[in-house]
């Protein structure tokens, strides 16, 4: 699979984060991005679109990112969901990994981090 073939979903309640992350994804060659602005919408969008990779904020309205991750993983155990939070602590990292996150990143997410995650996904 090539980078231009994948679909990436960005889940964040901030339009700024959706825009900045989307800009980086397009810059590195991702052609299709979709987005959700709360945890509930994230689960619905995932089920409808089955994106190859998801960037998910932890602090979101309606459902938290961790709750959405749990539901997405029970629907699709192979889902690759990257959890992101401004609270880059050991305990948040452990919670995310326990729930089956593909990766944990501290926000704001940098271009290098996104590139590394996308390359890791493409290799797998």
């Amino acid at each position: 699979m090539k980078i231009s073939d994948i679909t990436v979903m960005i889940c964040d309640d901030s339009p700024l984060v959706i825009k900045k992350t989307g800009d980086i994804l397009r810059k590195i060659g991702v052609a299709k991005t979709i987005h959700a602005s709360d945890g509930e919408e994230a689960v619905e969008q995932y089920k409808a679109s089955k994106p190859n990779l998801v960037f998910m904020d932890i602090v979101m309205p309606k459902k938290t990112g961790l709750e959405a991750l749990r539901e997405i993983r029970s629907f699709d155990p192979n889902a690759r969901v990257v959890m992101a939070s401004t609270i880059g602590t050991q305990s948040n990292l452990i919670s995310a990994i326990k729930e089956g996150a593909f990766e944990f990143l501290q926000k704001p997410i940098k271009e290098d981090d996104i590139l590394k995650v996308v390359n890791r996904m493409l290799k797998e």
């Binding site: 339009p15 700024l16 602090v59 401004t86 609270i87 602590t89 305990s91 926000k107 704001p108 940098k110």
Partner: protein, 305 residues
């Protein structure tokens, strides 16, 4: 940082007024060289390395020099040499005020000596502790039971404002036991062992200015996007506060999603604080109310009851 505190001292002591301080600080940003630029100029670091350190500052509450040393881009000696060139920022502020004709050389000399004398009386085991104690003094909160929390929180916020918005601002006022109103505001709740409500906002110009500077984009309206930009700055501040609490005190904090409001009113109690800041783009306010702190001793008492 020190420029803002010295500026506040001059303002508080009636040596200059808010407009004069504002004019001097605006002039200062045009001539003051940031540490990263000074490092490039000295040939110590490349532009890419400086950019990398700026990126790292989004995720770690550390000073530029400290991170550059950790990454192996600067030696201790190089960092010290660059910092010594920066430390004369109070002199630059004084020079700008004298050049504008707002104060005389004698007034500046007396004020600087008095400021230094007062600052030298503030003690602390580390530089950080000394700065937090200085902040308690500047905010006038030495009588508050939670003064350490407020000092640490506001100090971190001021550092983040300098990092992400710029240092062309002055402290225009500190209030407690007051109803604070903001035309536009973003709020966020900190939950966990320490719980608090935090709001940032201000006038229309102030609010748009925060969003525009933080996003690095031209913004002209107080629309959803501008609100999201201000909200992300608040989220970043609280995220870094939570990371610091986890690293230094082993306390795990959580955050609720940010909310935005128009014509926002908040009752700040006696054990709360509202700090007014005057930027060149407009006035802003930061209000913080700590609701409580759960300690192991508190938890034991609750269990016994």
């Amino acid at each position: 940082m020190y420029t803002q505190l010295f500026g506040h001292y001059l303002l508080n002591n009636g040596i200059i007024d808010a407009d004069e301080l504002h004019a001097a600080l605006t002039a200062l940003t045009r001539i003051k060289v940031k540490l990263g630029s000074a490092a490039i100029d000295a040939g110590y670091m490349s532009a890419e390395q400086v950019e990398e350190i700026h990126e790292l500052q989004h995720t770690m509450d550390k000073r530029f020099g400290e991170l550059a040393i950790e990454q192996g881009y600067l030696t201790d000696e190089q960092a010290r040499s660059l910092l010594s060139k920066q430390k004369n920022s109070n002199l630059l502020l004084g020079q700008a005020l004298i050049d504008f004709g707002f104060i005389t050389n004698k007034q500046f000399e007396d004020a600087l000596n008095d400021y230094k004398r007062k600052a030298s009386l503030i003690n602390g085991d580390s530089e950080e502790e000394r700065m937090e104690n200085e902040m308690i003094d500047v905010l006038g909160i030495s009588d508050m039971p939670d003064k350490e929390f407020y000092s640490e929180y506001i100090l971190l916020f001021i550092r983040n404002l300098i990092r992400f918005l710029g240092d062309d601002f002055s402290l225009s006022g500190v209030s407690r036991n007051v109803t604070v109103s903001m035309n536009y505001a973003c709020t966020q709740e900190i939950t966990g062992p320490i719980s608090a409500t935090v709001a940032i906002g201000g006038t229309e110009h102030g609010f748009i200015g925060i969003g525009a500077r933080y996003s690095g984009e031209e913004l002209h309206e107080t629309d959803g996007y501008t609100k999201a930009c201000v909200g992300e700055l608040l989220n970043l501040q609280n995220g870094l506060f939570a990371v610091n609490a986890s690293n230094s005190r082993n306390i795990e904090l959580d955050l609720k999603p940010q909310e935005s409001f128009e014509k926002y009113m908040l009752n700040v109690p006696e054990n709360g604080i509202c700090v007014g800041l005057s930027f060149s783009f407009g006035d802003i306010k930061i209000a913080v109310i700590k609701h409580g702190e759960r300690t192991a001793a508190n938890d034991r008492n609750t269990e016994i009851q």
